[in-house]
Symmetry: C2
């Protein structure tokens, strides 16, 4: 297999002809697949349906401590749900507040609260001339959307195989008081699949930010989302690392069951220091009479404990792994050695991250779309939707079936080849 | 029955002696009742338990249009839930966004969004020197808590039997551009039970605010919460009235099933003009992947339609009405003609509003508490928790049983008498 860069102009032209014909064929197949979001598949959702039998009209609706979950009260979550969510994150239940059906609103609220009320008595960010966030990229588009929505300036930080480039993070937060936060997906990161190394986590915990109200937004979305039994990442627990490093209040950690139970009806939580949680509770008493405790108890009765949840996630892995493998098989078979793309082979999470030749990502995604396969928009994994190299593409294999996934991957590699040839010819 | 004001000093002293003795007796009874919040009773919650049988592991989890409610998507609510919530408010489904488990977070979010992003492109309120809200009082303490939390100055507007004093409302909003909103509970108001007259609603719709971004926060919390079959209030529908009056965008209306199904696990909604809803949706796409659509569909399948819900609310009324009647019977028997208190006899809602002699409310509530009955804090029904006359007390009969309610009322009237006598003696 010769790298495309080593092909002569004639060979490239010949290849272009073949690939164009194949692409026209592919368009004729009338594919209609959506791989734009990390949506759980129907099979995954079906696997959780027993949760619907947890409560009947005859059920006892009380917590272990005897509180009726149908009524208002217990604003920050029922104790047994705190325990379950704490165990997902590896923290203590007293460091957890259990919220509503997904973690995105908690992250939005956290930023919004900092804007209107500041952090632990600090100046509300909306009163400051300038507020900036560090954004390791490629990263999660919805994180960047929140900061953009609030007019927060985003500074891209490169990702390494160990996590964000900590030399850059340390330098920037130490010298710029207007940098108030950083977005992190520390485990099976969206989209790179990278899990932060112990050194990275320790360097995060030991940051010396110029801004006293600097916070790490630690989105532990894939904490127990392993793909394999024998290849699993583990990361250091950030709250205790921060405490050890003398920065006990520096982190807001988020997690949810959106990709464990139901994307539309899960349970989400935030973990942080007592000072931060007390501050959050102060706003919560104004904001809510309490989240849906019935659903919290439903989840606890269904999963019972973290072991039950881990067992469940092994079944999830059995559903998702074949899809990852279907994509990886096609990528390996069709693109290895061609010099026109690199990709990740993660141990968990929901995504494969693909890096095309510079300047090709938008064109590849457009070509896929034209032939009926919708990918996440190129650039979406970068702040402001702008990938400076126009290279990164997020592949989300969770929703389609393995067969559909293989079809989509076939089309994808065809588009990668065609766009790469055209790019090389244009040079 | 002689009014206390007509009693001689000697008669008052004699009365004080009797009442003090009775109060000491009452303290000995070891009562322990909480009437502080409008919490649904256990019997009410039990009556809704059939909703738990709506879904089993075998259920079809699709909307009528075929959308799987277990997954993300349909951010602004499933169509059938829009219809149900719209029918509660008497508006069109296209004017409705269905949200999470209670309306308080929607109200909080609405104010928060105005603070950080302004209204329909206007200056964010957090960038303004001064933002004020009109607060008809006595009113709902949680409304006032939201505006206080955001540093919004609250101006008290007196309530009349027809609603807020509209002469004052019209004058203030017309002359002060910093007045950006008003809190309203238009039907069976908390705590007065007043329903706004047609003239009041029309005058609201025809307001000419100096601030283009003035909004009416119309909390229609008790829209179908009648206590009687033959004594029911109806109010004019505010959205269409505003449209007729040339103010189509002036209202955010809120409602929920917190006091229909479960306080901890209901469904809530906001209704407004298309322009306002589009603006809300713009923030929502950043804030959420969608609320809990499983619970939305659960409610629709259970109640089926507004008729099913109204039938259900008649059963609720049968549970709550005896508690109201128990209190009213005691008030009438013990206080009528004494000149030391007036009270409401509402056709619906959750509260009886009691006005003691000036300067007596705090002392009455404190005396009740000392003897084991917790009432809503005196003053809570006014902005900043300060009732200028120290006169209003909110009675929340929903949670206790009718027997407990009668006991609590006996204690309450005893405290009213005792405090009133002491007040008169001190004059």
């Amino acid at each position: 297999m010769k790298a495309y860069q080593e092909l002569s102009r004639e060979e490239l032209l010949e290849l272009q002809k073949e690939l164009s014909a194949a692409y026209e064929d592919a368009k004729g197949k009338g594919l209609k697949l959506d791989m734009s979001r990390g949506k759980p598949s129907i099979a995954q959702l079906d696997m959780v349906m027993d949760i619907m039998d947890v409560f009947t009209s005859q059920s006892d609706m009380k917590t272990e401590a005897g509180v009726d979950v149908r009524n208002s009260g217990l604003m920050d979550g029922i104790p047994e749900a705190k325990k379950l969510m704490a165990d997902i994150m590896g923290v203590s239940p007293e460091n957890v507040i259990v919220c509503g059906n997904a973690s995105l609103p908690i992250m939005y609220d956290s930023v919004s609260r900092c804007m209107t009320h500041g952090v632990l008595g600090g100046t509300p960010w909306c009163k400051l001339e300038k507020v900036k966030f560090l954004c390791p990229a490629p990263g999660y588009d919805r994180h960047f959307a929140i900061t953009e929505h609030f007019g927060i300036e985003m500074i891209t930080v490169p990702m390494t195989p160990e996590g964000p480039d900590m030399d850059i993070v340390e330098k920037l937060v130490a010298e710029d008081e207007s940098i108030k936060g950083i977005w992190c997906v520390p485990k099976y990161a969206n989209p790179t699949g990278v899990s932060y190394s112990d050194e990275t986590v320790r360097r995060f915990a030991a940051l010396k930010p110029a801004a006293k109200d600097f916070r790490i937004f630690w989105d532990n979305a894939y904490a127990i989302h392993h793909l394999y039994d024998d290849r699993q990442d583990e990361i250091l627990e950030i709250l205790s690392e921060c405490e050890k490093a003398g920065n006990p209040d520096m982190v807001y950690e988020f997690c949810s069951t959106s990709k464990i139970s139901f994307a539309g009806g899960g349970v989400a939580a935030v973990a942080s220091s007592k000072a931060n949680l007390d501050n959050i509770r102060k706003s919560m008493t104004i904001q809510t009479i309490g989240y849906d405790k019935i659903n919290q108890l439903r989840h606890v009765r269904y999963y019972k404990n973290i072991d039950g949840m881990r067992a469940h996630m092994r079944k999830h892995a059995d559903l998702i792994r074949p899809k990852f493998e279907a994509v990886l098989a096609v990528l390996n078979r069709e693109l290895a050695g061609l010099g026109i793309g690199t990709w990740t082979n993660p141990n968990g999470g929901y995504f494969i991250s693909f890096d095309a030749m510079e300047g090709c990502a938008k064109a590849i995604v457009a070509k896929c779309k034209e032939a009926g396969v919708v990918m996440t928009g190129a650039g979406a994994t970068f702040p402001y939707g702008k990938d400076p190299k126009d290279s990164n593409i997020r592949i989300a294999p969770s929703f389609p079936t393995p067969e559909e996934m293989a079809q989509a991957a076939d089309l994808f590699v065809l588009c990668v080849k065609l766009v790469s040839v055209e790019k090389l010819l244009a040079q």
